[in-house]
């Protein structure tokens, strides 16, 4: 850094804006080129292990009702999907989406040798690893690595949270977490940070200090970029005041802007219903149901519903039999929802769980979740799924 202090000051006073911007910032000046027609993925994480059997209910299965004398949901209370299956009574808007052909359901999704620790199983889902592997990067983080080798826009992958999940942390790049574009903007625009960045010009500096400056610079510029985009076409629809409502509202306004974001990540929980499951699951599903309605309405009226795929998952399902406290304990395989105006296959995509064939009272997984990831990466995000997942998985046909 050959510029001495006095010279630097002179430069600073003469040079105008862009000249002094570090390279990271400049990348944002180009025109955004991700507009209509570009596919967007919204991942909905149901944290805590959602009870899949009380989400998509096997209404003609006696084993289900025998195993759940207290918690089983009577057939006439469910929202009938077909003669075999009904949705949880709170998910009325999902039922509407099902009727419109905008909802698909995958049953029995999981992985071999399932782990019943929340943290570990969540890691497995987020890193897309096998049960016995420990991986330090997430599948969407590696998507970012693959898509964004030279670009400096971590805004391609955004999480609606204060903390970044492992899922969005790549080997080279990391996505960005935020709860509120305005708040992120206000914190990041501290003049102190601007001065540090201006003075630092650390681009040639040695690791890891350059890494820290790069992250800081990207955060400051991304915060500005996201905030500007979020104001572009603000959503006027009324969303519920729940956390999921606010988050989906933010996502909806970003999707209708010109932002380059391809993946949004949002969580709802906790579904860890060991006790008092009925009320807890109902409350969470109500929140979800009420937030999904304005969200899909917005996408439809903006003609983006064909381009947006929402995919839900949970780290595990719950045991078939209820426990003694009005709840269920940690289980294994589970269902996933796929919501989009652009689905090729709709409705129930595979068989309902086989309750007569259990291992230690738990469902056997029939479909490795990594096949779903591979499908979404390849067919929706046009990404190199082999590179990102490290193995080749057979694709599914829902998109």
């Amino acid at each position: 850094m050959g510029i001495n202090r006095r010279k630097f000051l002179q430069l600073g006073s003469l040079a105008t804006g862009t000249m002094m911007l570090p390279k990271f910032l400049k990348a944002f000046e180009g025109k955004a080129n991700f507009l209509q027609g570009n596919k967007v993925l919204v991942v909905l994480q149901l944290s805590g292990g959602n009870d899949g059997l009380n989400t998509v209910i096997p209404v003609r299965n006696d084993i289900y009702y025998r195993a759940r004398p207290g918690l089983g949901i009577a057939k006439d209370k469910t929202l009938a999907l077909n003669s075999e299956a009904g949705l949880h009574p709170s998910l009325t808007h999902l039922k509407e989406l099902y009727d419109e052909g905008n909802l698909a359901i995958l049953n029995n999704v999981g992985y071999p040798n399932p782990d019943r620790s929340h943290f570990r199983s969540m890691d497995i889902w987020q890193t897309a690893s096998n049960s016995e592997e420990y991986v330090n990067s997430g599948w969407l983080g590696r998507y970012l690595d693959a898509q964004c080798a030279d670009c400096s826009k971590p805004t391609q992958v955004l999480e609606m949270d204060d903390m970044l999940s492992l899922a969005l942390s790549g080997d080279q790049m990391k996505g960005l977490a935020l709860r509120d574009p305005k708040r992120l903007y206000e914190t990041s625009q501290d003049p102190f940070y601007k001065d540090l960045l201006q003075a630092g010009l650390h681009e040639q500096a040695e690791d890891p200090v350059s890494y820290l400056y790069k992250v800081m610079s990207e955060t400051v510029s991304s915060a500005d970029y996201i905030f500007q985009q979020s104001k572009m076409r603000p959503v006027t629809t009324v969303y519920p005041n729940s956390e999921i409502g606010k988050n989906l509202k933010t996502i909806a306004s970003l999707i209708s802007s010109d932002i380059n974001t391809r993946v949004y990540y949002v969580s709802l929980g906790s579904f860890d219903t060991h006790v008092g499951q009925q009320e807890k699951q109902e409350k969470l599903f109500n929140d979800l149901n009420e937030a999904i309605k304005p969200f899909t309405d917005d996408l439809k009226s903006n003609h983006r519903f064909e381009d947006v795929l929402m995919m839900s998952f949970s780290e595990f399902g719950r045991r078939v039999g209820e426990n003694g406290s009005g709840g269920t304990d940690h289980g294994t395989a589970n269902n996933m929802f796929l919501i989009s105006g652009g689905l090729k296959n709709k409705g129930l995509l595979n068989e309902m769980p086989d309750l007569s064939n259990l291992t230690d009272g738990d469902l056997n997984q029939q479909l490795d979740f990594k096949r779903v990831y591979a499908t979404v990466l390849k067919k929706w995000l046009q990404a190199d799924d082999y590179k990102i997942l490290g193995r080749q998985y057979d694709y599914l046909n829902f998109i």
């Binding site: 944290s47 943290f119 001065d195 860890d272």
Partner: protein
């Protein structure tokens, strides 16, 4: 050529948790080698073992002896609930207790080494007695002999439960412990076969613990058939397997490499590591002498090693407290920071421990780290909310447990109410003129010499008084990216 001060600070950060506030003048003069010997000496006393477990809960656990080995005693649901609830609270207490020790103890090397082993022998239980016992085994042996450490750790309830050795029985082996013993604790991937895993798992059959957490060998569950492991054949026991693994030079290489990466540099210098590992092996795995070789070598003080590491959240947080002494009115705020920054003690991400390095940093964690000094200074609240830990909450949200946890952290768990003891800190700069203050404070706080923009800084420096000047320079420098490095 690095200054003596920079070298001494380097030593304090790596062999401990950062230079203490009351020894700044010594930093300038003392030779690193003599500083190391005083740090080592302070770590030679047997550590005081932690015991934070609630007495009532302990009594409940102790009086319920199991009737059949391996079968837990029948406890009433409310007793189980009580144990679980109390454990969560006590593990939080243990966490805070250890942070206090890291901050205030003179046995800095011992605690730092223990933090290393805590990540190496990563286990997560939700039982305070097990967690506490494992930590105590680690702290008792942290600078002792690796063989004792490994054997004792392998026999803790924490490890046996975490790696499912309670389910490892003759005829029905569970290979989890045997595999991790090789992959993560001793020789590392690529140096053993699947047959080794199977054979050694048989040797560990019958290794269990009592409900109270005592090691309990169950002869009837033990497979005493002939096993072959690393060329040795016989009725091998678990102890034999550990002995054989320690007889492999690769174990010394694997451990030394990991120590080098933790204490010296993320990128391993192969030549140095091979030399250190050979000495470590020949010494019969004496950890103390390995660490002495590292910290008294000249390469340790090479400029390329200084300021080259990203501080772990715990090192960063404890380091701030050591450099800037403060009274925390709400010590549980540290637990919130641990969660937000991704290093919760007693809750490593998995058996491989914390990956460290760049993994500590993303935009949220970096921005939060940079804001915290201001938040401490102004006794502000941390606005970010950590993610839930369902393993700990056990689905008991809004119920007794959640209320209790809140109670522990109240009032205002995210409020950083700290009284910084400025007088002690400011004394360190008594001999500096006002114009020298910036450079003095910067040399004290930053290990990475980069052009932090002094001119940019000027407008953030409060010049209304000498004290205000020192305070504002300190808080601002602690909020730089450079402060994240050591």
């Amino acid at each position: 050529m690095s200054s003596n001060q920079l070298k001494n600070q380097h030593l304090w950060w790596r062999a401990g948790f950062g230079p203490p506030a009351d020894q700044v003048s010594k930093l300038l003069k003392e030779k690193p080698e003599s500083l190391f010997h005083s740090i080592l000496k302070a770590s030679e006393k047997k550590p005081e073992l932690f015991d934070v477990a609630d007495l009532e809960m302990r009594a409940l656990v102790m009086e319920n002896i199991e009737m059949t080995p391996g079968k837990r005693p029948d406890l009433k649901p409310e007793e189980k609930q009580m144990i679980r609830k109390q454990s969560v609270l006590d593990i939080a207490k243990l966490n805070i207790r250890w942070l206090e020790e890291m901050t205030g103890s003179h046995a800095q090397l011992l605690e730092k080494m223990s933090l290393f082993w805590h990540g190496h022998f990563a286990a997560k239980t939700i039982n305070i007695l097990y967690d506490q016992a494992l930590l105590n085994v680690i702290r008792e042996n942290a600078l002792g002999n690796f063989k004792d450490l490994l054997l004792n750790v392998s026999k803790t309830a924490s490890m046996i439960q975490f790696l499912n050795n309670n389910q490892n029985k003759k005829g029905h082996p569970n290979e989890n412990f045997a595999r991790e013993l090789m992959e993560l604790f001793t020789i590392g991937r690529g140096h053993y076969t699947e047959t080794d895993v199977k054979e050694s798992a048989r040797a560990f059959t019958g290794w269990g613990t009592t409900f109270q957490g005592e090691f309990n060998f169950r002869p009837r569950q033990h497979d005493d058939g002939i096993k072959t492991f690393f060329g040795k054949t016989g009725n091998l026991s678990g102890e034999d397997i550990i002995e054989i693994l320690l007889g492999q030079k690769q174990t010394a290489v694997f451990i030394t490499k990991k120590i080098y990466r933790f204490f010296v540099h993320e990128t391993v210098d192969e030549e140095i590591v091979q030399l250190l590992a050979a000495k470590f092996f020949d010494s019969g795995y004496d950890i103390r002498s390995l660490m002495t070789s590292i910290f008294t070598s000249s390469w340790f003080y090479d400029p390329k090693n200084i300021g080259s590491q990203i501080k772990s959240p715990v090192l960063w947080m404890v380091g701030i407290r050591r450099q800037l002494p403060m009274e925390l009115q709400n010590p549980a705020v540290q637990l919130v920071l641990e969660r937000l920054l991704g290093q919760v003690l007693f809750a490593p991400p998995n058996v491989a421990g914390w990956p460290g390095g760049k993994h500590w940093i993303d935009s949220s964690s970096l921005m939060l780290r940079m804001q915290i000094p201001q938040i401490i200074y102004r006794s502000d609240a941390i606005l970010s909310k950590p993610k839930d830990d369902d393993d700990v909450m056990m689905g008991m949200r809004d119920q007794a447990l959640a209320k209790n946890i809140k109670k522990l952290k109240n009032p205002g768990m995210e409020l950083f109410q700290a009284k910084i003891l400025w007088d002690d800190y400011i004394k360190n700069f008594d001999r500096d003129a006002d114009t020298e203050l910036y450079d003095s404070i910067r040399s004290l706080l930053l290990q990475k010499v980069t052009p932090v923009n002094e001119n940019g800084m000027i407008k953030f420096i409060d010049e209304t008084s000498r004290q205000a000047r020192i305070e504002s320079i300190t808080i601002r420098l602690m909020g730089t990216p450079e402060y994240q490095l050591c």
